[in-house]
């Protein structure tokens, strides 16, 4: 009984603030509820059926998938490379703090800063490109580059956080394994692939799972930098959901259906990743 009593406060909070909204969202998704209107009717699976015809929802799903795939490698690799470089050395703590700094900023601050940096007319990025003789581009207004600009912004923002996570993982790997490998003639490259990567597997799993979940929920950067544009080029599922719920006639029923589809997708991907990357690490 005692363990359950200890768990009770946490479980109560979880039930009140996680489980209940989740199930309430499921109930709303079966209605034609509109924000601010007291009455609504149950419409069965009509909101889900409408999603099959909602071309903008399809576009937003495609964009979200593209962002998730395209951003995962840089988000995995850039902090890892920096962590390897900073794993030893006198300036480690100073540099770690410097790299971590962007992550302390809110997404709105980051977005506004990059919005100005990339401004097509008065932004410094294009100014220096012109100075170097490179033609300026409207990075956020060009459908070819807008999503990549959002990915670059995100990598800049989150690198410091994952860097710290990687460094913690690297510090946990016993040094004698590298010494033994070196005695056996293994070089740095071989040590990296046969010692570092396998022993970092739990950390890599954490980074991939949290990043993929975060990617499916991408909103802040898009909201500030492009508003989903140009056109629908960077529209993500959460952006579409937000606009459906809070701008386009306050359609809470339809938006809840989108949220549940997104939840199902994230759940499937999370289970898949756990299965693929699961492994017993022992040292």
């Amino acid at each position: 009984m005692t363990p359950y009593l200890f768990l009770a406060p946490g479980l109560l909070l979880f039930a009140a603030f996680r489980l209940y909204p989740l199930l309430e969202g499921l109930r709303l998704s079966l209605t034609n509820a509109r924000l601010g209107r007291a009455s609504y009717q149950y419409v069965g699976l009509a909101n889900y059926a409408r999603l099959a015809d909602d071309t903008r929802f399809h576009v937003s799903l495609g964009n979200t998938a593209f962002y998730t795939v395209a951003s995962t490698l840089p988000v995995l690799a850039v902090p890892l490379l920096l962590a390897l470089a900073l794993n030893r050395g006198r300036l480690r703590n100073v540099l770690r703090s410097l790299f971590f700094f962007p992550f302390t900023l809110s997404v709105v601050t980051v977005g506004l800063a990059w919005l100005w940096l990339l401004d097509p007319v008065v932004g410094p990025f294009n100014y220096y490109l012109r100075t170097l003789g490179v033609p300026a581009r409207s990075w956020l207004a060009d459908p070819q580059t807008a999503m990549w600009a959002i990915i670059a912004t995100t990598v800049w923002w989150v690198t410091g956080y994952y860097l710290v996570v990687y460094l913690a993982g690297l510090q946990d790997i016993p040094r004698d394994l590298y010494e033994a490998a070196a005695l056996d003639g293994a070089g740095g490259w071989r040590s990296f692939w046969t010692i570092t990567v396998p022993l970092l597997r739990p950390v890599l799993l954490f980074v991939v799972v949290t990043h993929v979940i975060g990617s499916f929920q991408l909103f802040g950067q898009v909201f500030v930098l492009t508003g989903g544009g140009p056109g629908d080029a960077t529209r993500t599922v959460v952006q579409h959901l937000y606009e459906t719920a809070f701008q386009n006639f306050f359609q809470f029923g339809a938006a809840s259906a989108m949220a549940w589809v997104l939840f199902a997708i994230v759940l499937v991907f999370s289970v898949l990743q756990f299965r693929l990357l699961r492994g017993h690490t022992e040292f």
Binding site: D119, P120, G229, Q247
Partner: protein
């Protein structure tokens, strides 16, 4: 009892008795009433917000009524009103745009204002410009009272236009008289990172208010006259969309879809600019050499987009007569002092009262704005207007950036608007 606790001297005791007696003898009317505090939500996040703060300070000094303002960007303000008012957490007073009146009224967010109340407070339709007064009415009932008339105007950058030899011998920039002339002039100015023409303060590609203005100039609109079906696939709307697409692509005269046109104009990188009247005080502060002209007729008729701000009373959970009276007092006070608002915030008043003020008529920009009055047009009175506008934004941007051809985009938009729920 300790000494510290009993330390009430005879002098203090007598002083207290005297003060109590004096208070009891004071005439009833002179006793300070508990101060009423109003809650007031608005979206005046720009320079006009500071002007509103100043006026509210003066209002409080004059009347003793305190005002707690919540200043939230417009889109968020409307979402917040939609949630807070049914929950009984709404403000006493809210400033909203005219096009928000129909959907807030039909969703029961706003309280209707009856004629007797209106007359009792001294508000008469004849004192207002018709387009603004009518904007507060939905399905025969009044829900709001107009404050001012944000509208479009043509800004001309003297430096940029002089450099392109588009100024007369007197140094005044030339004003385009038609669409073709505007394009020809804009092409003379567009080179490198300098642009000849733009519509909208920022993100010109998705500036729906500008797109609406051009639609109205061409006799088109979002909805057909029945207010039930979208009219955007009509040839007149497609023609406007084609011009819109040309601005961002073929004509090569306008800045990219996400540019900040205001910054570009201030930086001397934009020649002609159709934008809101709320920009001109900022341009003066930034010491930009500019002049203004009435909005040119780019299509069939010289319509000017206008979007009056309206005072509205969100429905409270339980009626509070004192606070409602205080809210009316504020609306009355602002209406009586609207000339100050016009001069400092740069917004022409909806009430005619300030229009004859020599400080207003003596200002060339305000004079031009007032002269456009006969051509003002506002959004259609349907609860779906705002949702339709939100759907329009990405579609016109896709046209502006050349992602979609105009006709296909307008047909797609019409389909989306027609699919909005009842």
């Amino acid at each position: 009892m300790t000494r510290a606790h009993s330390a009430v001297s005879r002098r203090r005791f007598l002083g207290g008795v005297t003060a109590t007696a004096a208070a009891a003898a004071w005439p009833r009317g002179a006793v300070a009433q508990p101060k009423t505090t109003l809650t007031y939500w608005n979206g005046l996040t720009g320079a006009d917000g500071k002007v509103m703060d100043e006026l509210i300070d003066r209002f409080t000094r004059d009347t003793g009524i305190q005002i707690e303002q919540q200043r939230i960007p417009w889109a968020e303000l409307y979402a917040k009103l939609q949630v807070a008012v049914p929950a009984g957490e709404g403000p006493d007073l809210a400033l909203i745009h005219t096009v928000e009146v129909p959907h807030f009224a039909s969703d029961g967010v706003l309280e209707a204002i009856d004629d007797a109340t209106l007359a009792g407070k001294g508000f008469r339709g004849d004192d207002y410009l018709p387009a603004t007064w009518q904007g507060g009415v939905f399905q025969g009932k009044r829900y709001s009272l107009p404050l001012d008339v944000p509208q479009h105007i043509l800004y001309l950058n003297v430096k940029v236009m002089k450099e392109a030899a588009l100024a007369g011998p007197d140094g005044k920039p030339r004003v385009p008289g038609s669409r073709d002339e505007l394009v020809t002039m804009a092409k003379k100015m567009a080179r490198g990172d300098t642009f000849g023409f733009a519509i909208g303060t920022s993100n010109p590609g998705r500036y729906t208010w500008g797109f609406h203005n051009l639609l109205w100039q061409n006799g088109a609109n979002i909805y057909a006259a029945d207010l039930k079906h979208a009219a955007l696939a009509e040839p007149a709307a497609v023609e406007v969309a084609e011009f819109w697409g040309g601005l961002g692509n073929a004509l090569k005269i306008a800045p990219p879809a996400n540019a900040n046109c205001r910054d570009a104009f201030i930086a001397g990188k934009l020649g002609m600019w159709i934008a809101g009247s709320w920009n001109f005080t900022g341009l003066r502060e930034a010491k930009v050499d500019f002049s203004v002209a009435p909005l040119p007729r780019l299509f069939k008729q010289p319509v000017v987009w206008a979007m009056p701000h309206q005072y509205s009373f969100p429905k409270p959970k339980t009626a509070d007569r004192t606070r409602r009276e205080a809210a009316w007092t504020h609306v009355r006070w602002m209406t009586d002092h609207v000339a100050e608002w016009t001069l400092k915030a740069g917004q022409v008043s909806a009430s005619r009262k300030a229009h004859g003020d020599p400080r207003v008529t003596g200002d060339p920009v305000l004079k031009t704005l007032l002269a456009q009055g006969a051509n003002w047009q506002v959004g259609q009175p349907t609860p779906k207007w705002v949702a339709a506008e939100n759907l329009t934004r990405p579609v016109i941007e896709s046209v502006y950036t050349g992602q979609k051809p105009a006709k296909a985009a307008m047909e797609d938009l019409a389909r989306q608007i027609n699919a909005l729920p009842e």
